[in-house]
């Protein structure tokens, strides 16, 4: 096996490992998020609240 082929093999194997690791990490991330309680949030109603819903007082 030439050095070129050896390096190519390393790159190829690393690339495939990376793809698998990335996919595995994504699954792990989804599992982790699935176990966390979702952030409770007051759902905004209607259109953007900008200049309509918010009435901040001057101090």
């Amino acid at each position: 096996m030439t050095i070129n082929l050896l390096l190519s093999t390393i790159i190829l194997v690393s690339f495939l490992i990376t793809i698998v690791m990335a996919a595995g990490s994504y699954v792990a991330y989804k599992l982790r998020e699935g176990r966390r309680p979702a952030l409770e949030r007051a759902a905004p109603e209607g259109e953007s609240p900008y200049f309509e819903r918010i009435l901040a007082d001057e101090p």
Binding site: L5, S8, T9, I17, Y26, L39, A42, P44
Partner: protein
């Protein structure tokens, strides 16, 4: 066996299969030796060549435009005109670990006229107590604190903008820190009345491990260089959350932040662009931010970014379909779509196809040349971007690892997020836990 053990076991099993397949393929190339004249192989080679052409063209365009922006921006002179007053809006939600540093960085800003409004978005930790202690008057700077029921970052920003009474507003993240000269450099762009907003330069502050150093390089070489190139054309398509300065009139005209996407910064930027405002980039308006320190947190961030960007783009379908409404905006939208979906797909598929094609054609040794070429391009771009920003040269060697695995991992995560967005999988905000390094 715990869930974590199961995950690790599954990952290791997958890894073993992948390695076994790769080794088998290399030891027995005949397995992958279809007819060289086969249509599939020809399509594969055509795709790979297209990928290469797009890759080089993308780099050439980015480098050329970003250089023009750099030259133009360096020649921009300081204005003697009075400095308009600016309100800095800081939305915070459970930022107890970092909020002190963020607010103190604001008090050190070298700009004569600004106020600070901190919006506590219903924090459940000690954030409100900490920011309340910071409220007051510091010389000419007034720091106010407002609190509201938790409703998300966009609503917190809207609250701050509504409470501001100045012609310009700087929006930042509660986990960011500003460079003292940020405001004065950003404000120069508003001498042009067509400029509705200025995007700043975000830098990673916690360069403590491989992941964060790779992200530091990514911000310099990937995100900022693209933003710089877009800035030359005044069509920056994402004003980053950690630093964006807005003409209040422009914000009012487009209705502030919407709450229907998970990338409110990208969404607002597109609203400004489609309303006819120019969006500039200022490299010296620097904000420091904490990058995710673990890979899973990084996936979480990129998942939200990708889905949020696609949501923002989906709202502008009509613009995407019709360049006649405004060519510059259309280009900006197409670039956004390209970078969010097409380019990651091309990166992953292009490399996979090249590998398969190289094995099929019995030239597995070519894989090394292929990757060397890509890595050389990345190293060259990293040197260029790092030099242009006066960044730490020690980031450049990371461009090898960047190509070797980082960009592939990020692109795979983006592709999963894209698939989930296409089938409308439910998502939540997913706030990152901060460790307080800013």
């Amino acid at each position: 066996m715990t869930v974590r053990d199961s995950q690790l076991g599954a990952a290791l099993a997958l890894l073993t299969v992948a390695v076994a397949l790769a080794v088998a393929a290399l030891l027995d190339p005949a397995r992958f030796s279809p007819d060289p004249d086969s249509l599939a192989l020809q399509i594969g080679i055509a795709f790979v060549l297209t990928f290469l052409v797009v890759l080089v063209l993308r780099y050439v365009l980015l480098l050329w435009l970003s250089y023009l922006q750099h030259i133009e921006n360096r020649g921009r002179v300081h204005s003697d005109a009075p400095h308009p007053r600016v309100t800095i809006v800081v939305p915070v939600y459970n930022e107890e670990a970092v909020i002190d540093a963020a607010i103190r960085s604001l008090l050190a800003l070298r700009y004569p006229a600004f106020d600070v409004i901190i919006i506590d978005d219903g924090s459940t930790d000690g954030t409100l107590g900490r920011v309340s202690a910071l409220a007051g008057i510091y010389g000419t700077v007034r720091v106010r604190v407002l609190t509201k029921v938790n409703g998300g970052k966009a609503t917190a920003l809207n609250t701050g903008i509504a409470a501001s009474r100045t012609p310009f507003v700087l929006c930042m993240d509660g986990d960011s820190r500003l460079h003292p000269d940020t405001l004065q450099y950003a404000m120069r762009h508003f001498a042009d009345p067509r400029v509705g907003a200025v995007a700043g330069n975000v830098k990673v502050v916690n360069r403590t491990n491989l992941w964060t150093r790779l992200q530091a390089l990514e911000y310099v070489e990937g995100l900022n260089m693209a933003r710089r190139a877009q800035g030359f054309l005044r069509i920056v398509n994402i004003i980053p959350g950690p630093i964006g300065v807005f003409r209040r009139e422009a914000l009012a005209a487009v209705g502030g932040y919407d709450t229907d996407t998970f990338a409110e910064d990208a969404d607002l930027t597109l609203k400004l662009l489609t309303a006819g405002w120019h969006v500039a980039y200022e490299e010296r308006a620097v904000a420091y931010t904490e990058a995710p320190e673990t890979y899973l947190d990084l996936v979480k961030q990129r998942y939200r970014w990708t889905r949020g960007i696609l949501q923002a783009l989906r709202k502008r379908r009509a613009w995407l379909r019709s360049p006649r409404q405004g060519l510059a905006v259309w280009i900006s939208l197409v670039v956004m779509l390209f970078e969010a979906v097409l380019w990651p797909a091309m990166n992953v598929v292009g490399n996979l196809l090249f590998t398969v094609a190289a094995l099929s054609a019995g030239v597995a040794g070519g894989v090394f040349y292929w990757w060397s070429l890509l890595t050389m391009l990345d190293v060259a771009a990293a040197l260029y971007a790092v030099g242009m920003e006066g960044e730490d040269l020690r980031l450049v060697p990371y461009s090898v690892a960047y190509r070797f695995f980082f960009i592939t991992m990020i692109d795979v995560a983006k592709l999963f997020a894209t698939a989930e967005e296409l089938v409308q999988v439910r998502m939540t905000w997913g706030k990152l836990e901060r460790v307080g390094r800013i």
